[in-house]
Structure formats: structure tokens, C-alpha cells
Amino acid sequence: MFEKSVAELSRALGSGEVSAVELAQLFLARIERFRAFNAFLDMRPEVTLAQARAADRMRAEGRATPLTGVPVAHKDIFVTRDFASTAASKMLAGYMSPFDAAVVENMARAGMVTLGKVNCDEFAMGSSNENSAYGNVANPWNPGAVPGGSSGGSATAVAARLAPAATATDTGGSIREPAAFSGITGIKPTYGRASRWGMIAFASSLDQAGIMTQSAEDAALIFNAMLGFDPRDSTSIERASEDYTRDLAMPVKGLRIGMPKEFFGKGLKPDVEAAVRAALAEYERMGAHLVEISLPNAELGIPVYYVIAPAECSSNLSRFDGVRYGHRASEYRDLADMIKKSRAEGFGPEPKRRILIGTYVLSHGYYDAYYLQAQKVRRLIADEFQRAFRECDVIAGPVTTSVAFGFGEKAADPVEMYLSDLYTIPGSLAGLPGMSIPCGFGDRGLPVGLQLTANYFEEARLLGVAHRYQQATDWHRRMPGGIA
């Protein structure tokens, strides 16, 4: 049962083959058994089981949705009433929120059962999960490899079948990169589709919640419950709710798939390129047309991102001052000293680095040269995607230059680490929906991801295109060894 997809679990729950309580117990036991992966930061079995019992009651009373009783893990960036919410930072050790994040609320309303909170990079800043204050997360495919980040705990939880689904967030690639490294399906919707209410902010203009699952079909089922307009988030987009499963059966015959030539150039490792090209050939075989497109400014994505994201983060993280909640230094001389020491002790090196960069680029005299300029280039990159979408329906390419790297391999060189997000950042800057689906294996038997990007609000089409591939291949059903 543990290896089943959300769609399969939904059917099993519907037919009475399994109860929500049984599923909760099964996954709680697995999480316990694979504690060494360090995917989970907070578990409260009594809370999980109470939710499972409520889900079974919903079903008994005929109020079940397709997701009622399906377990899910939440990235520790979402605040929750019943579990600690730390953003994987010492700053928020043990912090209990008085309210649930909107996506947590939405999924609970559909009857999904929370297994616990999963590890991530501190305040979602990182590409390997090595920045968590609570330790590394193992990649179940290879204990020496990183799971990716920042949603590394979510990726490992789904890859190791510790949860059929896990929420995640993407600011510059934090869903797609770990999904690729861990051999699972991960999707971020259009910016504004998922409410940011209750998501601990890193870079507000980029942060977007998404989901990690085994398949595109599962993601579509969950999006139906998870997304939607929220008046509490001013950047949430007011649109009629839609059925994200509606295009799952749509054939790809005649679909124009754009291949950005810049994403197949220098730096792309041969093992990754081979798997990605094979996937594109598969689409061709199914009747899609491959079109070469160009995103000439995409390479500026990284410098632009590392101005905008730190600028916003330097301001977003100012609220952690030790005054009202969170870590407060035990000894200090005066107010300024209290704030300085609390922040110096509470934040890890990566948030500190980004706060410094962000403070610098927003400083008087530098603002125009950095922040304003970065915003202009961001606009150019977004426009470039719009031009590309005149020539193609979806854009496909690699998610990362390489398969998952080893622990410590890039930790010493922040810039090298930042380059991990080369292919994912442009889409984030444009606010486009994007996903990663497993498309084979590369060096050391590690998974390779295929990145698919669609135009604004075309999540249903994106999921349909991914689903057709997953109907024709079985990469997404492969599991790491040793987890059975």
C-alpha cells in the first residue's frame, strides 16, 4: 500500500479497502523506520491519528472528497497550528503558530491527513537542503547525494514513499530541482495561484507553493483542493476555480514543444542531456513537434535573482528580532545588543549571507544600480517567455545541469551552489507554472528530471502533457532500493 499513488489511495479509500487511520498508521511507521533520512522535523502521531479518524467519519457520513484520508506532509515553511513551524531555522525552534497556512487549511478541508512537518533549507534558502539548522536530508537513491533544496525533506518523503504527497515551495527552483534530484514529480503553479497566507516569506514576489507527488495525475488531484483565490493574500489572483485534471486525457499530437537552445549548451552534463533528449524524442514519437526557441536573457536570471531575492529576504526576515517570538539571546547589554545577538545566534550562515547582500543592494546609492536594474531585466526575461510562447505551447528542457551532487561538494562555494538553479530561475522570475518529471537516470544511478514550463494559468495543460509522458513511460514508478 505504501507505494501507491494518491490516485490509487483515493480509490482504495473509496472502496473501503483501507481506512484513513490504517493509512496514517502505515506511513507514521515508515517515517519512524526511516528516521535516518531526517526528512521529518516534527511529528505528532496523536494529531495525525485524530485527523485520520475525522477523515474516516467524513467518509462514513458521505462528505468525502477524492482526497479525504490521503496523507500529506507539509514543508516546514507553512505555518501550522498543530505542529511546530520552524522554517528549519534555530530562530523559530519550537514556534507554534496560532493559525494554519491557507494551503494547509485547504487540504485539511478536503480531508487530507497531515503526517508532520518536513525538513528544508533554512527559510527555504538553498539548493541542497544542507542549510537546514536541523541537519542534512538523505537522498534515498544514494546516501552520499543531496536530495536537492530547498524542499529537500518534501522530496525525500515522497521519493522514499514516507508520504504519497508533500507540499513544497518554489522561489527559484526549490520544487523542481529537488524533484529532479529525487526522481519524483514536482510542480509550482503560476505566481498568484496558491495563497501565500501562512507561508513564511523568503522572497515575496517569487515565493509560490506547489506540490510533490509520484505523478502528474496526483498533482492535478491535489491542486483541485490546494489552489484558489484568497483575499488574505493581495497577490493572490482572482479567477474562477478550475478542474486541474481536465486535460489529463488530452493527446500531445500536434503539441509544439519549445527547446530553449540556451538550456542545452555548455555546462549541461552529458548524462542529463541524454535522458532529457530521450524524453523529448518520446514526445516526438507521440506526435508532438519539437521547436528550437531562444531565451537570450535567461542566463541573466541568476544575477537578477540574487539581487531581488536577497533584497526581499533582507526585509522579510527583519521581523525576527527576538522581541515578540522566536529566539532571544540570553544575555545582552541593551536593546540594540539584544536584537543583534538574537539574530546572530538565530540565523544560520545562508540567511545571514542573503540579508547582507539584500541590505547592500537596497542601500542608498546602490538601489538604482542593483534592485531597479534587476527588476528591468526581470521584465525582459518575462517578455522573452511571451515571445517564445508564440512559437510553442510548452517549453521543455533539463531541470539541472547534473544529477544530484554530493554533500559538501558545493557547500563551500555559494556561487557554485547558486548556479544549480540556472534553468529553473528564469521561469520563477517570470512567475510561470513549471514542473519536473522523472525521465531516466544518469551518473551513479541518480534520477534525471525533465522540466516542463507552460504559459500563465496553463497548469491543466502542463499536467496533461506530463501525464501523457507518464502513461507512456514508467520512470515515475521507479523506487529507490532498500525502502520496501
Binding site: S85, P98, W197, G198, P231, S234, S318, R324, L362
Partner: protein
């Protein structure tokens, strides 16, 4: 002020907007609650919260923009002003920086009988911070976040004022305008309306401005005047003694009547403003402006002109009656209820009514004598039922006991005596009792006539029709 110096003043005013809830959260803005009971998760800046703009605050800004003839921006931007302070929960204040919602405009002031126009630079929306409480916590400070997130309109003038009197006149005109518009309660003790003054001096005739100092947080007109006066003297003394004014922020201490330095330009903070990514640009459509315009009250200046034209009132009366919307409304309602001479209404409103309102510290809306009651009273003066003097007595009774003029007149038997037979009888008695006055009158002393009229009125306990008393007395003395 010394004759060879010119003073240059600009004001920045924070008007707290009279919305029920905060600018970015649903918490109440009521004043005086127990600490932190009006602080929601948003006001506390808990992890994961987001701001949502209160449309009511925007409407206030539009009203203000229309009232001062400013441009209401179709698109303005909320920006974050970043600094650490314990009563600033997010570590930044949401304000407007490069593109404010209200641009330009002007306010007209009257000083020494002269009209002067003060140009506004801008007015922008922002949130207030909380309060640090330094007493009663045994060496620690308390934080009250009830005020955090209260909507403010910061109104900035050009450096157009040339004396403390002009600055005070501007502050008063602005105060009465925002209260008139209903966008601010104007309560200065509670901090709903507070000014910062930028003051500099220069030798008369010089074009360039002198170095300015900003004096913070002046929450009464008297403090504003004293602080500016003090600052002018300080700057002139400094320069005349060969020193230089240093650009800095100064705090006024009303107990010592002096300003002292808070921070110099060198330690000025870098607020690292940038557009708030949690809020979309504020877009105000022409339709929205038109809707607000349709609901705007008549503005004081227009009303003053109308009062002069429509009611034939002197300029002084029109200005006094339009000092507040409540008083102006009272006057117009009383005119309608009375139906007679508007000048008579004006005299009563400016006289007995205002006097008693001041005494009781009440607004015109709360006057125990309503416009209808006053109208009823004036009708009885006009139709000769009572004299003006008796009317004052009736007014006093109405103020305390309520009722109508007619019931009071009846109950107290105050109806004027207009029966000439009865008045003749009174006059005969007065003439008989005051032979000395009669003699003096006949000897050519006009004053004696007035004394006799007074005696006759007194004998009637004020109720005799004075015109008839005059006529009858004249006739009898002549005869």
C-alpha cells in the same frame, strides 16, 4: 523675530484616518484599549501573515486630494521603510515613497487679514508604529501594538510659510479641513493630528534656503508655535555668533520650551525603501474618484461664499459659522426651522449657542437646544410674542430642561404684554412714582426718558412690548 532675517517653514503632518479598522488588518483602531488587545496576528507580524489594504483608508486619501485640489494618482506604490525598533513589528513600515497617492494641491490660510496659499508637495498613506512604554516595568520596556497599523495620511507642504503664525494658521486650516471631511477625528491629545516642522532662516533678500532643522512630534498648536519661535531664535543666535546651523532632527521639550538634538544628518538612517512585494500598486480609477467626489461634503470656503450670498451674512459671520461642519449644519437647519431673517439666526448661533457650547465643551451636533427648538424660539421674537431679552431666558430654560419655546413661554407666563390699555396703566404708575425723572426730562435731559422706559419694563417684569412702552410714554410726557 529680528527684522533682517527671513524664516522659511515647511510642515509634515500625520493625520490619523478615521477608519474603523487598521490599514492592513481587520483590527479595531479604537483609542484607549488595554495594551495589545487590538493587535492581531498581522499587527504582531507573526510568521506567514500578509497585509491587505483597507479601501476605507484609500477613500479618505481621495477625499483629501479632491478637497485640496491635488492630483489623485491613478497608480501609486506602497514601499517598505526598513528600520529596527521594538514597536515596529515587521522591522519595516509600509508607507509610500516614490509615487504617493495624492500629488500637489494647496491650502489657503488667513493671517492678519491677508489670504495666502500654502502649496502641498504630496500626501501619502502609511501605517503607524506601536508604542514603547518605559514606565512601570522595573527596568524593562513594554510594547503596546494597539496603534501599530493605524492608517495615517502624511501631508507634506512646500517650504511656503514665513512665520510661526503662518505655520499655526496652516496647521489649524488643515486640521479643520480633515475634521470637516470626516477623515480624521482631529484629537491632538490622542495623537490623531501631529506635526513635524522644518525650519530654516536666511538673511532677507537671499534666494538660497538656509540649512534646515526638523522638529518632531508637535501635538498642539501652542507647542508648534513655541517650538518654531524657539528654533528661529536658536538658529539666528547661532549664525550671528559666527556658528553654523547643522542639518538635524530636533525634539521639542514643552516643559523647558526648548528644542534639543535627536540625530544629525550624518547618523541619518538609510531606510532602504523598495516597493512592497506583498501589495500590488494601488490603482484608483476615474470612476472611483467620481464616486468619492459625489459623496463629498461642501467645502468650507465654498460654503462661506454661499452663506454670504444666500443669507446676506457679513464675512465675519460666514467665517464663524463655517468653522465646523456641525455648526454650519446647525445654522442652516435653524434658518429652515425659523423661516425668517438669517442674520437673526446667525446672531443667536454665534452668541448664546456658541457661548454655551464652549462652556459645556460640546459640538453643535450635541447642543441640547436643537435647530428646530431655536427656530421655534426665534419665531416668537419675530411675531412679537416675546422680546429678545425674554428670549434669552427662554433659551436658558430650553438648554437645561428641553421642551419647546411655546411651552416654556406659557408655563412661565412670559408672553409679551401688547395690550395698550395694560401698558398705559403701567406707564401711568411709573410716571406717578418717578416725578423727579419726569421733571428732568422736561428740563431737556433725554437720559431720563430711558430711565422711565427701564422702570416701565421692570414693572412689567420685562414682558411689556418695548415699542409700545416707548410710544405711550412719549405721548404721555408730551401731553
Amino acid at each position: 523675530m529680528r527684522a533682517d532675517w527671513e524664516v522659511v517653514i515647511g510642515l509634515e503632518t500625520h493625520a490619523q484616518l478615521a477608519t474603523k479598522s487598521k490599514i492592513f488588518s481587520g483590527s479595531s483602531t479604537r483609542f484607549g484599549a488595554l495594551p495589545n488587545v487590538q493587535a492581531s496576528a498581522i499587527d504582531l507580524a507573526l510568521p506567514g501573515v500578509l497585509p491587505v489594504l483597507n479601501a476605507g483608508a484609500v477613500e479618505c486619501a481621495i477625499k483629501f486630494g479632491l478637497a485640496v485640489g491635488a492630483k489623485v494618482a491613478e497608480r501609486s506604490i506602497f514601499a517598505r521603510k526598513n528600520y529596527f525598533y521594538p514597536d515596529l513589528p515587521k522591522g519595516y513600515q509600509i508607507s509610500q515613497y516614490e509615487i504617493p497617492v495624492v500629488q500637489g494641491g494647496s491650502v489657503t490660510i488667513h493671517v492678519d487679514g491677508v489670504d495666502k496659499t500654502v502649496q502641498l508637495t504630496r500626501a501619502h498613506l502609511e501605517e503607524d508604529a506601536g508604542k514603547s512604554l518605559h514606565e512601570d516595568y522595573h527596568g524593562m520596556s513594554g510594547i503596546d501594538l494597539n496603534r501599530a497599523g493605524t492608517p495615517l495620511l502624511e501631508i507634506v507642504t512646500e517650504p511656503d510659510m514665513r512665520s510661526s503664525a503662518e505655520a499655526v494658521a496652516y496647521a489649524k486650516a488643515l486640521h479643520s479641513l480633515v475634521v470637516w471631511l470626516g477623515i480624521c477625528d482631529g484629537n491632538m491629545q490622542e495623537g490623531s493630528f501631529r506635526c513635524d516642522a522644518n525650519v530654516s532662516v536666511r538673511p532677507k533678500g537671499r534666494k538660497e534656503f538656509g540649512t534646515r532643522c526638523e522638529i518632531k512630534n508637535l501635538n498642539s498648536f501652542r507647542f508648534l508655535e513655541q517650538a518654531i519661535e524657539h528654533e528661529i531664535t536658536r538658529q539666528i543666535d547661532l549664525i550671528e555668533d559666527g556658528g553654523r546651523v547643522v542639518q538635524e532632527t530636533r525634539l521639542y521639550d514643552p516643559d523647558r520650551n526648548e528644542t534639543r538634538s535627536m540625530r544629525s544628518k550624518e547618523d541619518a538612517m538609510d531606510y532602504r525603501y523598495f516597493p512592497d512585494p506583498d501589495l500590488l500598486p494601488l490603482e484608483i480609477t476615474a470612476d472611483a474618484v467620481a464616486r468619492v467626489r459625489a459623496g463629498m461634503p461642501e467645502l468650507p470656503q465654498a460654503m462661506r461664499a454661499r452663506f454670504e450670498a444666500q443669507y446676506g451674512l457679513p464675512a465675519y459671520d460666514a467665517a464663524t459659522l463655517t468653522a465646523s461642519r456641525g455648526l454650519a449644519g446647525y445654522f442652516e437647519a435653524a434658518v429652515a426651522a425659523f423661516g425668517g431673517d438669517a442674520k437673526l439666526v446667525s446672531n443667536w448661533v454665534m452668541g448664546d449657542l456658541l457661548g454655551r457650547l464652549h462652556e459645556a465643551d460640546l459640538g453643535a451636533d450635541a447642543a441640547p437646544v436643537t435647530p428646530a427648538m431655536l427656530g421655534g424660539l426665534l419665531k416668537r421674537i419675530a411675531d412679537g410674542t416675546i422680546s429678545g431679552k425674554i428670549a434669552k431666558e427662554v433659551f436658558a430654560t430650553l438648554w437645561v430642561e428641553g421642551g419647546s419655546a411655546d411651552t416654556v413661554i406659557e408655563a412661565k407666563g412670559l408672553r409679551q404684554i401688547s395690550d395698550s390699555g395694560a401698558i398705559e396703566k403701567i406707564v401711568d404708575e411709573v410716571l406717578a412714582a418717578n416725578p423727579k425723572s419726569v421733571e428732568e426730562f422736561r428740563a431737556g435731559k433725554d437720559k431720563a426718558f430711558n430711565a422711565l422706559v427701564g422702570q416701565a419694563m421692570k414693572a412689567s417684569r420685562g414682558k411689556a412690548n418695548p415699542t409700545q412702552v416707548n410710544e405711550i410714554l412719549k405721548r404721555k410726557l408730551a401731553g
